[in-house]
Each structure stands twice: as C-alpha cells, then as structure tokens.
Symmetry: C2
Amino acid sequence: METIYFDNAATSWPKPDAVLAAMENYFRFVGASPGRSGHRLSIEAGRGVFETRNALVSLFGAKDPLRIVFTKNATEALNIVIFGLIQPGDHVIVSSMEHNSVMRPLRAATAALEADLTVIPCNPFGHLDPEDVRRAIRKNTRIVFLTHASNVTGTIMPVAEVGRICREHDVLFCVDAAQSAGAVPIDVEAMNIDLLAFTGHKSLLGPQGTGGLYARKGIDARMRPLMMGGTGSRSEHELQPEFMPDKYESGTLNTIGLIGMGAGVREICSIGIEKIRQRELELTAAFMEGASGISGVTVYGDPDPNGRVPVVSFNIDGMRASDVGLQLDDANGIMCRPGLHCAPSAHRTLGTAPHGTVRFSFGYFNTREQIDTALNAIEALSFSSRRKSSCPA
Amino acid sequence: METIYFDNAATSWPKPDAVLAAMENYFRFVGASPGRSGHRLSIEAGRGVFETRNALVSLFGAKDPLRIVFTKNATEALNIVIFGLIQPGDHVIVSSMEHNSVMRPLRAATAALEADLTVIPCNPFGHLDPEDVRRAIRKNTRIVFLTHASNVTGTIMPVAEVGRICREHDVLFCVDAAQSAGAVPIDVEAMNIDLLAFTGHKSLLGPQGTGGLYARKGIDARMRPLMMGGTGSRSEHELQPEFMPDKYESGTLNTIGLIGMGAGVREICSIGIEKIRQRELELTAAFMEGASGISGVTVYGDPDPNGRVPVVSFNIDGMRASDVGLQLDDANGIMCRPGLHCAPSAHRTLGTAPHGTVRFSFGYFNTREQIDTALNAIEALSFSSRRKSSCPA
C-alpha cells in the first residue's frame, strides 16, 4: 500500500534531496561550530549559517541578514516576542484563530503582567475583519499577534491590511508564519510586519529543530532575550550582548539543521514560490471540490481555495475525527491529523470543539492521484457511516 | 595536508557513521512529527525520540525516561533552571569556573530578582574545594550550579562531594554536563544531582541542535517553563500542561537531531564509556607530557591528566593565543580554539584573561600521530617565538 502523506502542516515530507545532501556534506566535511573558533572549518560552518540568513531575507523581502534570529522552532520565536516585549499594564490584541504557540504564552504573560488581552472573534469561516482590529486598538495597545494562515482551516488572514492599521496606530505587529512561510509570498516591508515568527520544517522544506524570528530594526533595543549564554561574541563579559542576532542566539546553533533549512529555501526559490503556490492550490481545490460533493462530509473554512494555504479540515457525519484518521491510515495508508491541532480557540470559532476535525494538509510533492484515492476512501467511509446510522440497532 | 580536528569541546567531529545513518533513515522513511498526529509515521517518529530518552537515562543512571526534557542545547536547559527556579531574595552558589551559559543568565536573573550570588573561587588549577560550598550555604540558599568539567582546562569538578553537601543541606544541585556527558561516567542518583544540563553534540556524538535537562522527580512541580506553546497534549487548554516532559517541550521537537543523538549515545554504550575515557586519557596525557616539556610553553589546569576531560589549554611565551591558533591552522591543518572560550571567570581564575589560551580538545577519533604532529608544530612555533624575542629589534 502506497503511503499518502497529507500531514504537511505538522511537518512537510518528503523533503527535497538537496536538503539531505547539504546536511550530509556538513556532517562529513565541515562539522565544526560556527562563530566559536577561528579555524577554517568553523568559518565554513559560519558561512553555511550565514547563507541561510541570506536566503531567508530574500524570501521575506527583508534587507539585512542580521535581522534574522535563529530559534529551534516558531514557538521559541513567538515566546521571545511575548515574554520580551509585553510590559505590565499593556493591552494586546490577537485573533480567535491562533495556535497554542501564541495563546499559551500569551495567556500566561498577560496574567503575570496584569496586561489586557483582546481576542477578536473571527467568523465561522475563520475570517478576520481588519476593521475589528482597528476598533480594538487602545492607547495602551502594545502589539497585535496574527497568524498568517490558520493551521486548522488554512484560512489566509488579511496580514497586509492589519499591518497597515498597526503602522497607522504605531502598534507593533507580529505575524505567526508557521503555516505560510514558503507556501505564499511574504514581504515584511510591504506588509508592515515588525516581527515574523517562522518554522523551518513545514513549507520551508527544512528539517525539524529549525525556525526563526525576523525583527525589524530598532525592535531588538526594547525586546528582552528569552535566554542568555555563550554567543562566541564579547566573551569577556558576563552580560548578554545587545546586538543582533547574538542577543537572542545563545548556545551552539543547530548548524546542520540550519544548513538543511537553507537548502530548502534555495529549493523554493529555484522552483519559484508562485509555481509551488499554483500546484498546492490545484491540489487543494481538487480535494475541496471532491469532498464537498460527498454526502455527509462537511468541509470547514473558506469555501474558496484561493483564500487558503493547502490545509483543509473536514468531518464525516456520525464519525469521530479520530476514528476517521485511524481508518484512513489503516485501510488506505493516508497520514493526516485528526483532533484539535493545538488550536482550541480556532475550533471554537469553527464550531468544531471539542472533538475537532480531520485535517488534510498538502505539499508540493503530493499528486492528483493521491487526492483521488483519498476522496474515494472518504466516500466509502461516509457511505458506511450513513448506512450504520440508518440501520436499526 | 591532513585536517587535525582538536576542537571537540566546541563540537565533536567526526561523528560516528551510525549517527548520519539514523538521521538519513528518519529523513527518507519516517519524516513525521512525533506526538502530534496518530498515524503510523508519527508514531514511528515518537518511538525514535522515546528511544533517545531511554538511551540517556541508561547513560545517566536515571530510571524514568520522562524525566528527560529535550532542549536545543545545554544553554536552554540551564536557562530553564535559572529562570524557572530562582525566587526573589534567594541565595545562589556557583564556582568561578563556569561558562557564560551559566554566568550570563545567572547575573541577569539574580539582578532582576534581587537574589544574592556567591561565586566560589577555585585555585589556579581550576580546583574547587567542596568544603567552600558547605561554608557558603546560607538559610536562603536555593541552588548550587557547578560545571562537571571546565571547558577551558578540562578540570573535573568534585560533583559527587558537592552533591552530598547539597543534599545534606536540602539545597538543589544543578550540574552543567556540557563537557562531561559521554566523556566520563555520570550517575545522577549516586552523585545526588537534581538537575543535569547536557548537550547532544559534544561527547554524546550527536548533531548540533540537541541537548536536554534531566530533572529529578518533584522538581518540575516548582520550576516554571521558559517557553510555552503547543505540546500535542491537552490541546483543548490554553494553559501549559503541568506534566513531564511536555511542560518544558513546547513546539515541534528536533526529531531528526534527537534520533541522531540517540544513535550517538548508543554508539557510546556499544564502545563502552570506560574504553572511550581510557583512549581520550591516553591522548590527553601524551599531549600534556609533550607540551609541558617544550621550552616556553605553559599548560594550564590540573597537571594530572586523570583529573580532566580531554581538554588542555596552553600558551606559548611571546605569542598571542589567537596568533598561535591561526598559525596552527595555516601551517599544520590543526583546528583548535584560541581565546576566552565564553568563560571569562575561568580565565580570571587561571590568570589567563584577557587574551585567553589556546585550547586543544580531543575526541575518541583522534590519534597518537595527530598529537605528535601537533607537538612538533608547537615546538617549532615556540622556538621561533623565542628566537624573535631574543633578537635585537
């Protein structure tokens, strides 16, 4: 049985061969720690990491590679912002479609700092009205957090519009790009994004253990680091350096992972993000059209595939999402993610709490044939579920 | 020219082939995110990560694999402890041989919390007298931090003795095992270690981007997490779970790296840590004996190689450490680390601040021939330095 991997929103797979090749080359022939020693292997490792910074600023429309901070995942990047910027008595705005990587640290930070938190409700498609953000802004609003694309429905949020509103009101704007970086174009300048948290192992096609934070110039002066330690710089001081990116990059970096992520980003640039977007849109549209036509199947979120990254949540009448996931895996080799997807607020918005949905998330390497196989499997499951419910017990 | 890699205290290299093989297998055939979905690839990924937890508890003499928290490096593990446990008004004890991964967060945390910090001076060999720790303990002493082995001189600290003293006084004991885990035996139970911070990419032979924290049962109940986010558990709640290890493992783990680290640890167990220790001791002893016999060369730290992990710092009269490092690289292909090694307090203890030392750090894959080549190179450098200084300008 062929394995059909529809769990790309958890982590993309397969990754391009170039990613493994870059990691293997580092493993075999470089190996050293960047920025720590001065020998040629250390310099070569540093060059590899710097090339990843360069590839990322190209992709995100930023200019200075030193504005990129490397973290272990998007969660760490978001925690740096949340625990580093919010002050006692601040007001913070967030949408109702956020992931727990935003909501958990934000609930804790705002409670500890006696800061106010406004959660802006989205409609049952997961849409946010940017004017709701404008109306929610107060004198003491420090920052707005917004996911670029929901990890539950794929809904692409109006980031550019919210960015403009934040800039007009001199409020910081932090975008969670965990589901969008590498899947849709991002331009931090044009979108007025002050802080962009991203992960390396989803649509950037890199390995797990990588991610980062873009921080617009000037913000680091007022943002405390989440952790401190050796940076290979200013070693004579027992105080954390204040310059970028060292201020937020303590301890040895995940060099092999970052070099892999760089290869992933270069692969994206070489294919062209528009081509990737087009292919993933076609797969998403084909699945949504097919699934919506199956009796007993509900597809959540924006009915227009153009309004999504390649993520689709659905349910089958009369079946728990977890049972659907299990059966698709057992009988059809389809790997997906049922449940709440670490985003309870998004599921409450969609009306799918507490059992959640079945989530399919596609990638550039999926095929139309895999979509058709999945649609047949869902149709069979739905048919059997309806037959069961119509039979007398 | 052969590359002679003597920078294993920065990161070990080469790594065993088994590490790359395990990573490649995951990359090609598993790929999924552990603990997030329920499909077979996700379960397989979870199994790989769990096997690494198991390998580590075996190596460290712990029992429960769920007492291991995975972090991106030892620095993150130390920051979890420092920012998670210290309370306002506490007293904290540390040695003068610590790395900036302890000193930088500790200086910041104690200043912010108005906690007192006692730095216990070590002697110029880097030795700590355990009785000095006992004398420093006060009623409000919360925790003692001690490096297991100095990253500058390799000096092995009296961890078991300090552990006993801490337990007697009901003071927490946190050991920084960045330089010792995988190089010398560690038994957290016998040594009364409450918290053990380790890195995966040094003597554990794993890739960069890995590390962790062992936390004795009960400590997690009073230790705040450093970051929060999705854990794949209790997804319906916007509060961080309180159980181990999820409380401290937010966001996607570095699965590929952790699987590589597991292969590294299993390689250590398969060779036998005593055999590794013996070989590294022989290399260290041979280098120390040779270097001490070269006129104009000063070797720092414990003169007995048995009192060290395979790390040796030295200087050549009349030459800056950085120049020695550069010349060894250029002329002899020797990769080492000159400077302050992110440990200014240790260099002040040794009397080698502000220029630092040249550090050679050996690994299991180094050879006696490489040591001899290096000794000849150092002798030539020292000879030429003495000739220069004796010539009239």
